[in-house]
Symmetry: C2
Subunit: 267 residues, 2 copies
C-alpha cells in the first residue's frame, strides 16, 4: 500500500530507527538496506523489502519506479516521507532517498548445498562490520556460495555490513554457527579447509586447492585459534615483504580467494 508519514512522532519511525541496533533487528526479524543501488541488487536476487521508505518530491530513477511497483504488487508498503524525516530515520544528514526494510534471511548450515559453488568463505569472530560486508562483496566477485560465520562475529545484517556488502548480503548465503557444528558438517562431506597461518612454510601459490574449498579467516586482532588452525587441511602463508606481518582480514581473504579462483579457472 502507498501511504505517507508526515509527523516526526509517528511510532513506526521509532521502530524502523531501532533496526540500527542488533537487539531490535533480532526481535523484529527485519533489517535495513539503504540506497537504490543495493536495493536493486536485492530485487535482482529475488528480495523485495516489506517496507520501502522514500523521500517524496524529487526526480526519480527508472529503477526506483520498477522497484516500487514490485513492492506494491508484492503487498509491501511504499511510505512517502520528507527529507527531514528520512534524515531522522537514517541518523545522518546526507541520507539516501530510499531505504528498504527487509525480512532477515539467514540460512541454516544443513540447508547449504556445498556442491553449488567451488569456493566458500568462513570467518571466525570477525568483529568489524566493514570487514564482514567486504568479505560478502568479495565472495560474490569470486563466485563463492556464501559466508559461514563462526563463533562471535559481528551481525551481518547491520547497516554497516549491508552497506559494505554492496548488495552481496542478498546474493551470498549467510550462515551463523559454532565451530563444532561447522566441522561436523564439513567432515560429513567433501571439502578442503584452508587457513592462512604464520606457522607454516607453505606458500599460498605452491598449495593445490580443490573444490569445494573453504577459506577460513580468523579474528582481526587474534587470528585463528591454534586448534582451529590444526583442523585445516592446508595451512598456507602469503608473502610479507614489509615491517608488519599481517594484512587486513578482508584483504587477506580476498588475496586467498583470488588465488583459489585463479587455480580453478586455469585448471
Amino acid at each position: 500500500m502507498r501511504r505517507e508519514i508526515t509527523g516526526f512522532s509517528n511510532p513506526l519511525l521509532k521502530e524502523i530507527r531501532g533496526l540500527r541496533e542488533k537487539k531490535f533487528r533480532k526481535r523484529a526479524g527485519l533489517f535495513l538496506a539503504e540506497g537504490l543501488r543495493i536495493m536493486t541488487e536485492a530485487r535482482e536476487a529475488g528480495f523485495l523489502p516489506e517496507m520501502l521508505f522514500r523521500v517524496k518530491d524529487r526526480p526519480v530513477h527508472d529503477l526506483e519506479v520498477t522497484l516500487e511497483a514490485e513492492v506494491l504488487a508484492n503487498n509491501g508498503d511504499v511510505i512517502e516521507t520528507s527529507a527531514d524525516i528520512m534524515a531522522k530515520l537514517s541518523g545522518k544528514d546526507n541520507a539516501q532517498a530510499v531505504v528498504g526494510v527487509y525480512r532477515d534471511h539467514g540460512t541454516a548450515l544443513v540447508d547449504i548445498d556445498r556442491s553449488t559453488a567451488p569456493i566458500w568463505l568462513v570467518a571466525q569472530s570477525m568483529r568489524d562490520p566493514g570487514n564482514l560486508g567486504t568479505m560478502l562483496r568479495t565472495g560474490d566477485a569470486v563466485g563463492a556460495g556464501g559466508l559461514i560465520l563462526i563463533d562471535d562475529c559481528t551481525d551481518p545484517f547491520s547497516v554497516e555490513s549491508v552497506r559494505a556488502s554492496m548488495g552481496a548480503i542478498f546474493t551470498q548465503k549467510v550462515v551463523q554457527c559454532r565451530w563444532e557444528e561447522f566441522t561436523a558438517w564439513l567432515r560429513a562431506g567433501e571439502g578442503q579447509l584452508v587457513g592462512t597461518s604464520l606457522q607454516t612454510d607453505t606458500d599460498y601459490q605452491a598449495a593445490r586447492y580443490s573444490a569445494p574449498c573453504f577459506i577460513l579467516t580468523g579474528n582481526e586482532a587474534q587470528g585463528l585459534p591454534d586448534d582451529y588452525e590444526a583442523e585445516c587441511d592446508l595451512r598456507v602463508k602469503m608473502p610479507m615483504r614489509g615491517k608488519a606481518d599481517s594484512l587486513n582480514a578482508a584483504v587477506a581473504t580476498a588475496v586467498m580467494a583470488y588465488e583459489v579462483l585463479n587455480q580453478f579457472r586455469h585448471a
Copy 2:
C-alpha cells in the same frame, strides 16, 4: 619531560582533541596515533612522538617502557593522565592506554626515488579513511615504496586512516599531489602505470608487469576518470563471477598488488 595532567580543563587537552579534525591537524602539523602496537611500529621505523599521553597506575608492557625512555631522551613529553581524561581525549570509552602526537611527515613527489621499490600504489580521490589506511597496510606487506594520493583524497593522517594502516603510515612514503604533477613526474623516468578497468579484455594475470610498477586505483563510487584510464600503460581486469561488477577499492588494490608481487618473485 615527564609531567601530569589532572584537570579536564587543561588547554592542552582541547588542542590534542582537536587533532581529530583535519583543519587542526594541518594548522599544527601534528597527528595522532593510538595504541602501543602502532606506536612501536613507528619507533622501529624511526618515528618518535613529540608527546606521549599515557594512563597512569596500570600494568605496563616492556615495549612501552622502552618507548617512553626514547621519547624522553629525544626531548619529547610523557604526559600522565587518568583513564577518564584519556577517554575524553580519544572521544570514546574504551580508549587506548597510550596515544602519541606525531609531527606529520608527508613526502614531496620530487623526493621519491622510484628505484627503491618495485611497486608503488596510487589512489585517486579515495574517500574512505579505512580504505586508505588499508592500502597503506597492503603496501607495506607487498614491499611497496609508498602511496601517492591524487586529487581529492581523504586525509592519510586522520585517526581512522592511521589506525587502519596498522603502522604503515610510518613505513610507507605518503605523497599528495595533482594528476598533472604525477603524470609529469612519472613520464620523466621509468615506470609502468597499471589501472583496473571494466573497459578491457586483458586479464590481470595475462598482462606482464615491470618494475617500478605503479598500481592506480580510482574513487570508490566512480572508479577512474576515462582520461586517467587512457593514460595507463596497461588496463587490466580481474575476473568477476558474481552479480556485481566490482570489488572494494582496497581489496581490488591488494589483489592487483599481489599479482604484481607474484610475477616479480617468480621471475
